[in-house]
Symmetry: C2
Subunit: 351 residues, 2 copies
């Protein structure tokens, strides 16, 4: 990709340690720190900003659920059962397993003549703690509906039905569902993915390790690409608007993705992935963002994304007070004493 | 401190990035990595091994609960209520809030005429998930007994009673309990701590940021020091033996501290602390170990400690199979597929 740092980001030496991006303080000192890298790429494939190694292959994990949902929209799987905006948003989610999440997944499954047992994501307790304790208090155990990926999986089952593929085995890399999605990912990221490392994700769906700059390019296209196959611009807009209409669906109570998109309205589509990944697009600027916190920490990735959004000018003048709360996350101890903060490191994204 | 790398550890440039210590793989590549530093110091205060910056001040957090317990032993607080070995072990714990943990804390409190409401550690759900869900299933909410630090706090209340100090406010840095402990920490770590950064810990008890090499020295003394105030050698041995006799008490089901000490018998006393800290002592070698994972990850700190124990020869010839399971922790996804591993980085502790 062309390199053209018009956003004046620091270019560091690939292969060297990525710079310290986020620091976690306690009392008067930095207690822990997170390193990471950031790629900002425009719809022409030009690198508009970089920080750290942006050539490294990164498993996007859940950060590309929005891209994976394109297949369900383009094939008509979404229209076939007249999915609501909230349901479509849920296809892009890593949800907390709250009741509205699980009931909505169940509603999708019901309308495609599937059930919880058709899901192949596995079971875990709701990641939203209060929902987990409430479930236990009812004497219940979690099901695959509570898996944070169950919305994506419901969408993949809908896709299987729509294209006439068997539902069983839809998580296998060789299944038509995953192959259809692979083709879309290749077009979006501008890279042939056959030779890339691939592994089952936490929910068993394949995740390919994509160079960070290509991930950012995929999100530039997702947000603002005009040179895409017929219908894709509409599909991407439809997915983004579904999420913007109900940000609770992509994450949930007290979750960064939900809070930040509730705050930003339609300015930025963003999505977290496991092991410190974040992807985002700012349609009005025509750029995509992909970042990876080296150590896999979500708290690092969230703060680094906030710093990037601040750096490129997503926030507006009257929003300083709220932005300050995003750029400085207080750490409260078990007695609710303010003992430290999570914040961008001093030279984070500096030049 | 004198520097004498008889254990042949790498000496790196303080101030530079600490080296990559642990890698987390997925499929064929490294997905995430953890950097860190390690100090190994003997009872003479000689640095026997170092890796990364060992001058940096580190909040030991819960890793020094064994040292904090010295005050309760030396003042007679432990004998005054005839604490069992398991109870004394619990004073050194970051427990999972399992039933045997909370009932044992309640038993200590009862015998010093205190109750749960005298604790000042705050409330959180048991960190042992199954215990949390079981509690919820009984329609109950957690109390301060479930706080992972409640054993330490019970010991501090016992200390307050023993020295005739008020129990209220025992977590304040100016309280006689914390001052008594501070004096012990200074002697153990060989450093005047008045000028060190201090902050409330997660449970509000003060935690001082101690240079990593001094933390290691404190644990060398704890394990094998002979030039200590009268009675301290016996106090330290008594604490270590209590923990060795019931490693479940210091952590719990499926926890590293418990598993590793169950495996090692009396060879190594070790204790985790929040934000990626680990301290340990190998009495037979006369050394203490202190390490910090830069990003605060427990998975990184645990693997780095395992690598250190391997490096200095703690494991024995017939133990290779079990050691291999500690040095390579498989990552299973939600369908129990083996998708990656946590392991020491290629050059971890190499020279």
């Amino acid at each position: 990709m062309a390199q053209n740092s018009t956003l004046d980001m620091v270019t560091t030496n690939p292969g060297a340690a990525n710079p310290v991006a986020v620091e976690v303080t306690r009392g008067s000192i930095v207690e822990s720190k997170h390193r990471g890298s950031v790629a900002i790429v425009d719809v022409a494939g030009t690198v508009q900003g970089q920080w750290g190694d942006i050539k490294q292959p990164v498993y996007p994990r859940s950060a590309i659920k929005g891209l994976q949902a394109i297949a369900a929209v383009e094939t008509g799987a979404v229209d076939a059962i007249e999915m609501t905006q909230s349901e479509l948003a849920l296809l892009c989610s890593s949800h907390g397993g709250e009741v509205r999440h699980t009931e909505t997944v169940a509603g999708i499954l019901d309308r495609i003549d599937c059930s919880e047992s058709d899901l192949e994501c596995g079971v875990h307790w709701p990641s939203h703690d209060d929902s987990a304790y409430a479930l236990a208090a009812q004497g219940e155990a979690p099901s695959q509906l509570h898996n944070n990926c169950s919305g994506k999986h419901a969408g993949m089952l809908a896709l299987a039905k729509q294209i006439g593929a068997p539902t069983k085995g839809y998580t296998k890399v060789t299944h038509p569902v995953q192959q259809r999605i692979l083709g879309i990912l290749e077009a979006m990221a501008g890279i042939e993915m056959g030779g890339l490392p691939v592994s089952p994700d936490g929910c068993t769906v394949p995740t390919w390790a994509i160079p960070l700059e290509n991930l950012a390019f995929a999100f530039a296209q997702f947000g603002a690409g005009e040179s895409m196959p017929p219908g894709r611009r509409e599909a991407c807009d439809r997915i983004m608007n579904a999420v913007f209409s109900d940000p609770f669906m992509v994450a949930g109570t007290d979750r960064y993705c939900t809070e930040m998109m509730n705050f930003l309205g339609k300015r930025v589509f963003l999505k977290t992935g496991a092991e410190g990944v974040f992807c985002a697009t700012v349609p009005s600027m025509g750029v995509g963002i992909a970042l990876k916190c080296d150590d896999g920490a979500s708290r690092g990735a969230e703060m680094l994304l906030t710093a990037v959004l601040d750096k490129i000018g997503v926030f507006e003048d009257g929003e300083a007070d709220t932005v300050a709360t995003f750029l400085n996350r207080p750490i409260l101890n078990r007695n609710f004493l303010h003992v430290g903060d999570i914040r961008p490191a001093k030279n984070c994204l500096s030049f």
